[in-house]
Structures are given as C-alpha cells and as structure tokens.
Symmetry: C2
Subunit: 523 residues, 2 copies
C-alpha cells in the first residue's frame, strides 16, 4: 500500500502522539503541538479564504519566528508551495524572487515591511500582503486572520512528487535559481537525518540556522517528526544564544560555520555559563581543528559534520564515525571530522568524477567533482530548464564542489569548481558581484573569489584592474557595493592589480587568485 | 529526482562503504562485505544461467545460514521474488507453498532434502532443486554453482513497487496466505527500524530470529544498511547462544517471546557467562514483567517492545520511551513496556476502531480492532483477491488484534479477533487444527483456542466433544495430530467437554473458552 511520502505525515503523527508536548518557544510565547497545529490549520483556512489554491506560491520574508515555522505546515497542507526568502537580501532581490516565483501572497516580518513597500509597484501579481507580527496600513494582520479563521480547511490530494517549497539560491549566474523541493525530497532528508542523528521527544532544538536556508536543513519538520521542541531565535547573538541554551535546556542545534565560530569565540564568561552535552550539526565548510577543540573540549558539546546543497534537500553526506575513530587523538579526530564523509543511508549515490565521468581513484589526492543522484536531489530549478539541464547532467546532480576520496571512501572537498562563494553559510555568486562592481566607472576588469575568513568561513575578495591606471578609493568602492547588493555579498577586501592572471584563451584563472591572493596583492 | 526505494540500495551503499568490514559469521566461515556480495553476485549470475527471469519465484527452505542470507540479495537483484519458507512445516505444507507460489527453483538446506524429495512428484513446475550445504544426487550443489559462476549478472530495471518477497503466513483459514512485500515496503521498514532503533557499523547482530520470519523483521537488510555484522545461528540453543553473544561480542538481537523466555530462563551459570549491554527487540507478545526484570535487571540488557504483522513488513508500532518514563520504578516500567506502543515515524497511520469504523476513545478500556495504512502495508495476498479484499478493507489493513488505547495514545493488545494463535512466534490457524482433529473418528465437535503458555507465550488448546460420550485417549489423539500437522501446531492440551459454549446463532464462543478454559475443564 502506497501513501505519499510527505512531511505532512510527520505532522499527522505528531498531532496524534504529542498533543501535550511543547512544540514551540518564541520569546514568551509557548505552544503545545495541539495549539501549534490549531494555529496552522486556522492559517490554512485563512489562506484558502484569501483565494489561495493548490500549486499557488506563497512567499515569506521572516526570521525564525513562530509564524515562519507555521508556514512550513499551513502552506503545504493546502497544496500550495512555500517560497521562504532570504531576509538578508535587498528590496530589488525580493522583487525579483517574488516575481520569478509568481507568488500570489507575500508574508513579511515587521522588519521587512518597508523594504517590501518600496517595491510594491513591481508586484502586480501578488493578491495580498500579510504582516506577520504587527498591524500596519496596507497590510493584512496575520494574528487577526489566524484568530478569525475556523480550524478546518480543505486538504486537496497531495502526491509525493508535488512541489513543497521553492528555495532560491545563488548560483554561477547573477540571478538566483529556484530549487524545487518535492514532498518526497524533504521526507527522505528528514528520514536520513534521523537515522544518522537520532532524536527523541526529549529533544530541544535551538533555531540558530535560518529556516529559509534549505528549509532549515529540513529541521522545520525533523524536530516535529520526533515530537521535540523548536526554540526560536531571531538572530544569533552569542550571549543570548548561550542564555537560551541554558534556560531552555537546549540539546541540539544546527550551525553554519560562521555560527559555530561565533559560539566558539564568544567571551569566556559567556561560554562558561552554558550547558554541556549539546549536539551540533554543522555544514557549509569543514569545522577548523581549533573550533572543534573549543566546542568539544571546552564546552563538552559534540560536533557532527554533514554536507549538502540546497539542491539536495540538503544532505548528501555525513562524516559518519567509525568504531576505530574512538581511539584517535583529538588532533587526528579533528582531521577526520573535517571530511565531508560518506553518503547517508537514504540520500542516494555519491561519486567524485573526472571530466570523463569516471570516478577518481580513492587515493586522497586525485581531485574530481562531487556528483549525486537519489531521492533527495531536487526536481529542478523553477522555470529554468537550461540551468536544470546543466545541473542535472547525465542523471547526476553536479555539485560544483571539487573533492578527493580517501582510501576509506570518505570524501573531502578541496576546492570549488563553480564561482560560488559560501560566506557565513550564504551562497554568494561571484559573477553577480563582479557584474555590479563592473558598473562602477573606474573599474576596467574585476574578478571576485572566495578567500578564507576568520568569522564567515569564506568571504568575497575582489581583484580589480582600474581604468587607465586610475586610483580608486577602496572605501568609496565598498560604499558603492553596499548600495547595490545585500551586505553579505560585499567583498571583505579589494585588491587593485595591473592585470588579472588569465589562461591562453583569455579566461581568468581564479584558482591563482584564490591560492596566490596574498602574493598578487603585494605586487 | 526519484530513484527506487529498495533494500538493494542499502546493498549498493554497503558495497561501496564497508567492503572490508565483516558482513557475516556462520560457524567458522567469515566473509567481509566485499566477499559476501561477490558470492551474491555469482549466485545471481548462476540463477540467470539456470533460466531464472524477472518476476520468477525462488523458494528457500533453510535455517539462518550464509546461503539463506545471500538469497535476500542474489534473488531480488535479478528482479526475481524470494519465497522464504518456514522450515518447521511438514512436507505437505512445503508442497502447497511451492505450488501456490509457482516457484521455479527450490533451494533447501541439507536437513530438508528428504522432506522435499518426498513431494517431488507434486512439484512439476520447479525447474531445478538446489542443495545449499552438501552434494546430493538429484540436486544441484549451491557451492559448486557459486564457485563456477562469473561475478556479473544482468540487473533488470526494478521499480520500488515490484514484488520483493512472498512470505507465507497462517491466517484464519486453513491454507497459508502469501504476503506480497514490495521493495518499497521493505525499504520503509528498514528506515523506520533505524530511526527508532539506531545502529552503526559497530553493531554485531545475532540471528536468533528465523530469516524466513517476515524477512527476519527486515534485519536481513537493516544490519547491512549500517555495515554491521550478521552472526548466524541455526537454532536457539541457550548455552550456544550465550557463548556466541560473548565470543562474537553481540550487541543486538531480535527475539520472539519464546526466545526471550528461553534466554531469561537459561541456567544461572549459562546466563552469568554473558555480556551486558545487548539491545533486544521483541515482538509477538508483550514481554512479561518477570522476563523484563530478568533480562534487564540481571543480564543488563535493554528490551524494546515492537509490534507488527507479516502483512505490515512487519513493524507498525513501537513502545517508544518518553522522557518521564525514566523516573518509573522497574514494575511500572514493565507495565509500560508491555504495551505495543505508538506508530513508527515512517510506518503510517495506526488506529483502533469499533465495528462502525470509528476510533475508540483513548480511555485504556474500550476495545477495538487495530488497523493500519501506510507504506509498510503489503500489496496484498498472492493470488488471493478474496483474502486481500478482506484484509485491506476500506483502505486499511485489518490486523485482527483487539486493543485499547491508553490516554497517552499508547496501544495495548487485549485479545485476538481472528482465530490465529501465536505460539513461539509462529502463526497457528485454529481453523486448520480444528479441521485436522475433526477427521478423527471419535471427535464430534472441536474448538481450538490459544491459551497462555510459559514457554511458547501462547499455545493451542483443543476443546473436544467426543462422539456419543466416547472416551478418547489423549495420548492417542496427540499422536494422531502429530502425524498430520507441523509439531508447533499440535495442541499443548486437550480438554474433553460435553458441549461447547455457543451463541444464540450457534457460533462457538471462543472467548469463553479462552478466558474460562480452566472452569470448563473442571466440569
């Protein structure tokens, strides 16, 4: 007997089994699972009353709040498609994503109402605008709508290959691409996470990772599947995070590298005032040995390194511990924990291939591209058949990550093939940043690469050839950049060079810039 | 991207990640995963050379040996369907199951060759007979075939809803029914098991449960999915089992109630010579408080109670611990652990319904029938549309188990609606036993019910009305039964009564016999 693989089935089970357990803490608001789902159901009914139908897209611009979490149930259970937007983007980005996704409804947290209002004229396709946490003229009031709606809605027939969310991610081109995640994709990622990272109803999960980010690595559903408690956090302030960890008895959290570094480097008296035994799932860049030593040795937490892309729901590998690793020294274990690891039991097949499509030898030195195929791989990019065909070539998702395979079968990333920089867990398209900098009148040529950064893991670094040897003021160029792009995309450093290193055919040799950046800067 | 949910995907992953880990121990034979899968592949090639094609059925009559485990990979990977037969049945039963399944090939362990030879004339549809552990005239030799075959075979396209196995089970009628398990069914059961019962590559699993039994509760694939080691055991001899547990560093095992009781009641010096920390999954009947106390308190093992049917792949509920259970006394925890529990994260929906199909109140007293729907529910009974329609009514699998739901949502079985007796983990059809006893010339009326039994959990008890008040010799009747049915089906007790309790419409009131058996016996 086949019933759809959907995160909504986890919700069905949690409603039945965990009605009295605490579902969510958001500041001084606390909801049991019964109360939480009652709110979701009322919001579903309200959405239908507002004219939303199966297949319609609903965009959210919000930090980690109860309203944002509710969207991951209320929107899919009427068969609509959730578009959780990165709130760190600019108003122009918001306009593009709302238009591109064809969203019929836009929900925004109070901090983003001005930004959305500034682009309203471009959003003719949107039926309604909903303010999530306040009343405001020109906006519907979320809490009023939820309070006024009945708790019953019409659930359409939902198939497991129906669209669940569209998650926009920056790629190699300047325009973000909409990753289409199906109900089956997300379900399989939750299942894989729970197999490798077991959780129970005693779990209390701290939302340090943005929910918009690959659906919070699917923890928006994973925590609910086991009846754990979601503890919301608007933004990662270390002292507040450490306080919540203690006061709310946090047992597990997910951390992009920047959050991990931020927690590891918090002042000593902040760190000391915490609770041991927290399990931390990290992805986006391998945790540095010093960070692991601080987190595991000093705080008494446990780090698990996992790897994936928004395009893979997101997990395709985990640094699965083996029995003999227990006997390793802290140093050797850190070296091991820096690896991206092996495919999950349920994520599908992972390979590292050369340009002919053959797998590289498992020698720890030969570099190839990581490719994956399986049930967590996205359906494609929304309304972008060309980008889809490029990414899903020959039946494999091409990650753009260059890696080696060690003799024990563990994958380790060595470089990036695509021009994407991952800064603080955010994808930054170097091509996009280059395009904007190029509009400055004094810039003749520009190349942007990612370089290691103490706080963000990696940060954009711009190499610029000025027009006719002009002198460009770095501060002025930075301000120019800040006015045109989301702040996390603005290069952390600018280096002015007489020429860019190029191949015989004229292509910029970005690997030279990445690896010899310091030398070039001194020229 | 959709790839088939199949246990073969766990095999693919294990081949890649765990080639050097120990896959299997069977007496003095030990195979790494590389060697184990090499044998499976050669046997697949041999099967194809013998003329086996996609969809063909292959029957096995074998205890827990390396050859039996190999069948769970070699047969499905050529798209054929495995029929693992209960080796405790009679030759006549074997004939029926081989004919009914339409098996084209029969593989049997040495102990069962005589039995199969005795029914050869009835097995015209079988192309080949293969002896698994010895050479014998009239039989192909498994080890010779494996050794001679190349390691490559042709893998056809396999869909997740294709048949994987047919597992025969006794039902309410006298003829066994062939439960059709798909690749997706088994995959989902493995995934659910691993979520609730986490395992790693360090696991060493002891095969106390027969592999034919609902595919060893899918542990034939679950252990492989995590790269653990299968340790074979032909039959459960307590002192040998305890020795293996120690010598092979066993960490986990599955136990039908009879095995659990057998281990708990082994002589003290046998029990003391064992290893603590073993995790035990038990199903089939709730473990008694005394058994739990012995196993957990004395041996230092940990019992998890799980519930299901062959028809549900098999797990549909687990007695999931809740945080507050930790504070319970051993007695109170035993009461709790006797419950069948709650549905697994991935098994689907579980309800207890009254005769109108409405769920009973969660009051711990109102009895209804357990029904289930979801991805672990079988496709149906092989070539038996009528039995399928009866079992899968209104979109739900009807288990025939009568249960209550406690206020915390936990299900607890109170009685059985169907006339099936579960003795030592085996299904015994009371109708079948009644039919055979009825052929004895001195028997006028007969009713067989299950009654509690110290060793087997439950055992058949026959209530007999003799012809014209004749006196029947119990020993003679027992011998008569033993000559006509598998030994585990023979009633453990016979009670001769002047009349059977009946309803107004003349139906035998079996619940009166079950619950008032002692009183009737004294009349």
């Amino acid at each position: 007997m086949e019933t759809p693989l959907s995160p909504l089935d986890f919700a069905r089970r949690a409603r039945r089994l965990y009605p009295d357990l605490e579902a969510l803490v958001d500041g001084d608001r606390r909801f049991t699972y019964a109360a939480f789902f009652d709110r979701c159901d009322r919001w579903s009914a309200a959405l239908q009353a507002l004219g939303l139908r199966q297949g319609d897209r609903v965009a959210y611009i919000a930090p980690n709040t109860n309203a944002q979490l509710e969207s991951f149930y209320a929107v899919p259970q009427i068969g609509a498609v959730l578009v959780p937007i990165n709130y760190r983007l600019t108003a122009n980005d918001f306009a593009y994503l709302i238009q591109h996704s064809g969203a019929r409804l836009v929900c925004a947290d109070g901090e983003y109402l001005d930004s959305v209002d500034s682009i309203r004229s471009e959003l003719g396709g949107v039926l309604h605008f909903v303010a999530l946490d306040r009343s405001r003229s020109g906006w519907l009031d979320y809490e009023q709508l939820v309070a006024a709606a009945p708790p019953n809605y019409q659930q359409p027939t939902i198939n497991e290959n129906d669209l669940l969310t569209i998650n926009y991610t920056s790629g190699t081109t300047s325009r973000p691409k909409g990753v289409m995640i199906t109900h089956r994709n997300a379900y399989m990622n939750v299942v894989g996470t729970l197999i490798h990272f077991p959780m129970t109803s005693a779990e209390r999960y701290l939302w340090t990772l943005p929910m918009f980010h690959a659906n919070g690595w699917t923890f928006v559903w994973t925590v609910t599947a086991v009846g754990g408690t979601h503890v919301c956090l608007r933004r990662v302030d270390p002292s507040f995070a450490f306080r919540l960890i203690k006061e709310e008895s946090i047992s597990v959290l997910c951390a992009a590298p920047t959050v991990l570094i931020c927690l590891a480097n918090a002042p000593g008296n902040t760190r000391r005032n915490t609770r041991p035994g927290v399990r931390v799932l990290t992805a986006g860049a391998p945790p540095a040995a010093a960070t692991i030593a601080r987190i595991e040795g000093e705080l008494g937490w446990e780090i698990t390194h996992i790897y994936g892309l928004t395009e893979t729901s997101p997990f395709i590998s985990i640094c699965e511990p083996r029995p003999h690793h227990q006997n390793l020294s802290v140093q050797d274990r850190a070296v091991f924990k820096a690896r991206q690891g092996v495919e999950l039991v349920t994520s599908g097949e992972l390979r590292v291939i050369d340009t002919d499509g053959n797998e590289v030898p498992h020698d720890g030195t030969t570099v190839g591209e990581i490719v994956a195929r399986g049930n967590v791989v996205m359906q494609g990019y929304f309304n972008d058949p060309q980008a889809t065909a490029e990414a899903l070539r020959d039946g494999w998702m091409h990650t753009g990550d260059a890696a080696v395979i060690h003799p024990d079968g563990y994958v380790e990333i060595r470089d990036r093939l695509k021009d994407v920089i991952i800064s603080g867990g955010e994808n930054v398209s170097s091509v996009e940043v280059e395009g904007i900098l190029f509009t400055h009148p004094a810039v003749q040529e520009v190349a942007v690469v990612g370089v290691p950064h103490a706080k963000w893991g990696e940060a954009p670094h711009a190499f610029i050839v000025p027009v006719n040897g002009m002198i460009i003021d770095e501060a002025e160029l930075k301000e120019f950049a800040r006015s045109k792009m989301a702040h996390f995309k603005v290069p952390a450093a600018f280096t002015f060079v007489p020429a860019l290193p190029k191949t015989a055919t004229g292509k910029v040799q970005k690997y030279v810039l990445r690896h010899g950046g310091a030398n070039i800067a001194r020229q």
